[in-house]
């Protein structure tokens, strides 16, 4: 019974005290090492090379006999003549009917919450889809081939994608006469971007995650195994972007990426293929190569952290469909140009392989980051650095717990009793946690209350005002309320240190949980919060400068400031900062932040993205706890009076 007896109290206490004493540099070393470790994982020698884990896929073996390149070109030209949605829908229906597949349409209506005007903004759309029944099997499984359809010249700034539509139609015609399909093929043309895809997936899977109103699907097939979404803005392309990032940072099985990569880069096609169409070249200079890897790894991670998919595939991933987007890049800096014919053959190669599958893709990883087109960092590799980074918080929490249990700060190394001589006062913990959680809920609902209270301004503005005001009120009120619960007059009390300790525990556990679901978001907030929350000092009579420094660090780690800097980095990297003067650059960043918040808010109701909920209900309360501990009574009135007496 080692735990029960074995009370080698002195030995144990010496160890814990040593930990408490040296914790600050151990934690720092672990943090620096963890971040360096993570960056180092981008190097090709430290991660794994792309491979197809599922042998049944047999990528690139099938002969590809697609000959419809010129037909696709004609169809693309026809699309350019279409002006209204009704025309587009009837054109798509006619084409699909003439090919000879089952054709259905689905109407949907979505109310955009927090629109830019006082009225609600409503969006209508129609999805068109055709089902090619498998000649060789029952309709129990299906593969989705999808493409967004966008009318040209309707004023929106999104890229056209009508060659994707055209290609899909000619591919459908080609597939129609092949007899080896053992899974149904669904050709889906969705309108209004993600909203249309969401309406179709919800109707198909019988789920209800959003507020979109949609008509039921007149025809359906079996379970969706895998899906390929295609986007082609022009008939020619020089590289392919394989986009895996799904909603809320979910990823499809890595096999679907490696399969698509293998088909596209096989000797038959040899198209430069990778995430964002980059990371294709192996630089001769190892440093340049490593730099490219790091850049690309951070870029894939940041896309994952944002949690919003760039195209329709991301919404299917949630329903266990292994989906990715194959995006043709016309302007990538590679010398060779490819056409619709090549893309058609690549697509049929991928679909043919997926058709070979006997069971759901499950062999390979669901958690990975891509540093270049030929390598991946799997979950087993990137978890140790994250653990190292987060463990710093755990160490600090343990040391705070140990220190608050000591009688005096010097720490008697020889324990005289079997029990702890100091009773820890945990009275602040419960009120502080309740207050911070309640303020999280308040901030979460604040945009709605803003819209409800301010009907005279536009909904977006009202939501932002409500959000800002609530956040400010929380920032002021929570420390004030918690201070009321500090029941001891002695400011040498340890209540605040214990609150700090439990705040660290809560932060650690929630960040761990978050990084399980969306690794990049968890890692981002771990890196940002671990250092500032560790340097907080729970000691009375600190120098004002030291306290001010802590204040600055904590403010920098607050979710709004982090997001603001995130927007700044995003604008800088994309070269989108148009203005020259510093002041207008700051304004531009703030506007971007506002748009990002509104987008997160809207997509919560349009696509079921939970990043807004995670930030307001988890990260914001966590931060408020640390913010509160900063406002402990700093100057000891008891000490001052004692000093006066002594004088």
């Amino acid at each position: 019974m080692g735990i029960v007896s074995g009370m080698e109290t002195a030995k144990r206490q010496r160890l814990l005290q040593a930990l408490a004493k040296h914790e600050w540099w151990i934690g720092l070393v672990m943090f620096v090492f963890g971040v360096a470790f993570f960056i180092a994982l981008a190097h090709d020698s430290l991660n794994a090379r792309v491979y197809v884990d599922e042998n049944a896929l047999m990528p690139g073996i099938a002969s590809e006999s697609f000959r419809g390149g010129s037909e696709a070109q004609t169809l693309g030209n026809q699309w350019e003549q279409l002006n209204t949605r009704d025309q587009a829908v009837s054109w798509l229906t006619d084409r699909l009917t003439s090919i000879g597949v089952e054709v259905y349409t689905q109407n949907f209506t979505a109310v955009f919450p927090f629109s830019g005007s006082q009225q609600q903004q409503t969006v209508h759309g129609t999805n068109v889809y055709g089902i090619l029944r498998a000649p060789r099997g029952a309709s129990v499984e299906s593969i989705v081939l999808s493409s967004p359809y966008r009318l040209l010249g309707d004023g929106s700034d999104v890229q056209p994608s009508h060659y994707g539509v055209a290609l899909l139609l000619s591919v459908a015609k080609h597939f129609r006469y092949l007899n080896y399909w053992s899974k149904d093929l669904i050709f889906l043309f969705y309108s209004e971007e993600l909203v249309g895809m969401q309406a179709w997936t919800e109707a198909y899977t019988g789920t209800k995650l959003t507020n979109i109103q949609f008509s039921q699907l007149p025809g359906r097939s079996g379970n969706i195994d895998s899906a390929i979404n295609i986007e082609m803005p022009s008939p020619h392309f020089t590289a392919i972007d394989l986009d895996t990032a799904g909603i809320n940072g979910m990823l499809p099985n890595y096999d679907v990426y490696s399969l698509s990569w293998k088909v596209a880069t096989s000797s038959k096609h040899n198209v430069p293929t990778g995430p964002f169409g980059e990371g294709v070249h192996h630089f001769a200079d190892p440093i340049a190569h490593f730099r490219q890897n790091v850049y690309l790894m951070l870029r894939t991670a940041s896309v994952q952290a944002a949690g919003l998919p760039s195209s329709g595939h991301g919404l299917l991933v949630r329903h266990r469909a292994e989906a990715l987007t194959v995006r043709a890049l016309p302007d990538a800096p590679y010398h060779k140009r490819y056409g619709l014919q090549d893309m058609g053959n690549i697509l049929s190669g991928i679909v043919r392989s997926l058709n070979n599958l006997l069971e759901h893709l499950h062999h390979s990883f669901y958690f990975y980051i891509l540093p270049n087109s030929t390598h991946y960092v799997s979950v087993s590799l990137y978890t140790p650095p994250l653990a190292l980074i987060i463990l710093g918080s755990v160490l600090k929490a343990i040391s705070l717990w140990v220190v608050t249990g000591l009688k005096n700060e010097s720490g008697d190394s020889q324990a005289k009793f079997a029990f702890g001589e100091v009773q820890r006062n945990v009275q602040l913990v419960l009120p502080a946690f309740l207050c911070s959680q309640l303020s999280g809920v308040a901030v979460y609902v604040a945009p709605h209350i803003g819209v409800w209270l301010m009907p005279s301004v536009s909904q977006a503005v009202a939501a932002l005002i409500g959000l800002t005001l609530t956040a400010v009120v929380c920032i002021v009120l929570v420390p004030l309320i918690v201070m009321k619960f500090d029941n001891s007059n002695d400011c040498h009390n340890t209540q605040w240190a214990i609150l700090h300790c439990f705040a660290l525990v809560a932060n650690t556990i929630t960040l761990t949980g978050l990084s399980m679901m969306n690794f990049s978001l968890g890692l981002l907030f771990s890196i940002i919060t671990v250092v500032p929350t560790r340097i907080l000092r729970q000691r009375p009579n600190q120098h004002f400068l030291s306290w001010f420094l802590q204040l600055v660090f904590i403010v920098m780690a607050s979710p709004p400031v982090v997001l603001w800097f995130g927007c700044l980095v995003y604008l800088l990297l994309n070269g989108q900062l148009a203005s020259v003067s510093l002041a207008s650059q700051l304004v531009e960043t703030t506007v971007t932040l506002q748009n990002a918040i509104l987008a997160a808010l809207r997509h919560q109701y349009l696509t079921g993205m939970w990043v807004y909920a995670a930030v307001t209900l988890v990260l914001w309360p966590n931060w408020l706890l640390f913010w509160t501990t900063l406002w402990r009574p700093v100057v000891c009135t008891a000490d001052v009076t004692r000093e006066k007496k002594e004088q």
């Binding site: 029960v4 007896s5 109290t9 009793f417 309740l434």
Partner: protein
């Protein structure tokens, strides 16, 4: 402090009412953490529907609830003017009231006993003696009601709450010295979820402890309590038999608890193991796992014979850790009883670690569940890791409190200073 505790009580009750009114019950009762196949509200509704069609609820393999509970809820759904959720709220208030009474009586008992034994204590042990704390009863009510586990159990309408109520009431009546009532509630608890049958040992010893002034012969005393317990048990079973008209329920309830045919994941350790084990070995391991629940009774009953109420707490923890279909409601009971021994807190060394483990399991568990069942990108091992963490946290807390109790006993008799041997601090080992 006391007024703050009552504010907290009001808040927790308001949260319960809010959650009941907002119909979170439908979501909570589908959570495997809150309701097991034995205690799920969905299954009771199924039973009521079957009964209304004139079909025996035990004909199928869905209902594993005891007949009296089903009849109780049939009556409740017919005659109660408010929704059943408020019945659970009432039960929770009843538990809280009982805990308050228990705290008052138990404190008096401990202090009285301490006074009588004071002559035996070593010198200078004042700082580990129990002081009567008038705030403790209110604090117990507060800590029970604010516990998210008990809120979830109450709002999720898990019938674990019925068995919790029975255990708490039996402890209360045992402390108050009423043999008939306390054995009735132990019998009721065992009737509801079987495992509390082992609680008859501490209940007997509490009775013996309470009536120590008028010591009766031990054998007749034990005989009296066992007879009373058996009488109540037989009566409950017979009532159930007459209510549904067949003995099917014995197999459906107790057979189900003991043979664990349903591998629906829960917070316990059974489902994962029996999902993996070869059928060939199933019976052997079933016996091992079930004996494991009860085997600790013997050593603990011997070692903790001077602290029967603490023994009951330890047994409640054991049941919650090792029973075949545990829920969060089972953990809420020992956690609510723990403050009775608040004088041990200064001896406890792993409270921080254990509470962190429980907290982590509570947050990580639902996330892994989502990723396994809904998102489908991890497997069962992840969720099992969370449940193991949950069990480990409980084991650590139990171990720690037992160790603290024994160490305090030792200190009371031998003095609180750690003995020095050759100028070095000695080590006290439990043997």
């Amino acid at each position: 402090m006391a007024s703050l505790a009552w504010c907290g009580v009001a808040l927790s009750l308001a949260v319960r009412i809010g959650l009941i009114e907002w119909r979170t019950c439908e979501w909570l009762e589908s959570r495997i953490e809150v309701s097991s196949p034995l205690t799920s509200w969905n299954r009771i509704e199924e039973a009521l529907a079957l009964l209304s069609k004139g079909i025996s609820p035990y004909d199928g393999d869905v209902v594993h609830e005891t007949p009296l509970v089903i009849l109780l809820f049939r009556a409740a759904s017919r005659y109660l003017p408010f929704s059943v959720g408020y019945l659970f709220l009432l039960l929770d208030v009843c538990v809280a009231w009982a805990l308050r009474e228990i705290a008052v009586v138990h404190q008096k008992l401990v202090v009285k006993r301490q006074k009588s034994e004071k002559a035996k204590y070593a010198e200078g042990v004042d700082c580990v003696l129990v002081l009567e704390d008038i705030e403790l009863p209110d604090l117990m009510v507060f800590l029970y009601l604010i516990n998210p586990f008990s809120i979830a159990t109450c709002v999720g309408q898990s019938t674990t709450l019925l068995s919790t109520t029975s255990v708490v009431l039996s402890l209360l009546w045992a402390l108050k010295g009423s043999v008939l009532l306390s054995t009735l509630f132990v019998a009721l608890a065992s009737y509801l979820s079987f495992y509390p049958i082992m609680l008859i040992v501490p209940i007997t010893m509490i009775h013996y402890d309470v009536s120590w002034e008028s010591r009766k012969p031990r054998i007749s005393f034990i005989l009296k309590i066992s007879l009373s317990f058996i009488m109540w048990g037989v009566m409950l079973l017979w009532l159930s038999y007459t209510a549904v008209g067949s003995w099917q329920f014995v197999n459906a309830v107790y057979g189900f608890i003991l043979s664990v045919p349903d591998h629906l994941p829960n917070l316990g350790l059974f489902w994962y193991f029996f999902m993996l084990v070869f059928n060939h070995f199933r019976e052997f391991f079933l016996w091992t796992f079930q004996i494991n629940v009860f085997i600790y009774c013997i050593p603990l009953a011997l070692r903790l014979r001077d602290h029967p109420a603490f023994m009951l707490y330890a047994f409640c923890f054991l049941i919650s850790i090792f029973k075949s279909f545990p829920t969060v409601g089972d953990v809420a009971l020992p956690l609510a009883l723990l403050p009775l021994w608040s004088h041990l807190f200064k001896y406890m060394r792993y409270t921080f670690l254990a509470s962190c483990m429980l907290l982590a399991a509570t947050i990580i568990g639902p996330i892994f569940w989502y990723m396994w069942i809904i998102a489908g990108n991890v497997n069962a091992n992840f969720f099992f890791a969370a449940t193991v963490l949950h069990s480990l946290g409980q084991i650590l807390l139990l171990n720690d409190s037992i160790g603290s109790l024994l160490r305090r006993d030792y200190d009371l008799l031998h003095g609180i200073r750690i003995p020095q041997i050759d100028g070095k601090l000695g080590v006290v080992r439990l043997r």
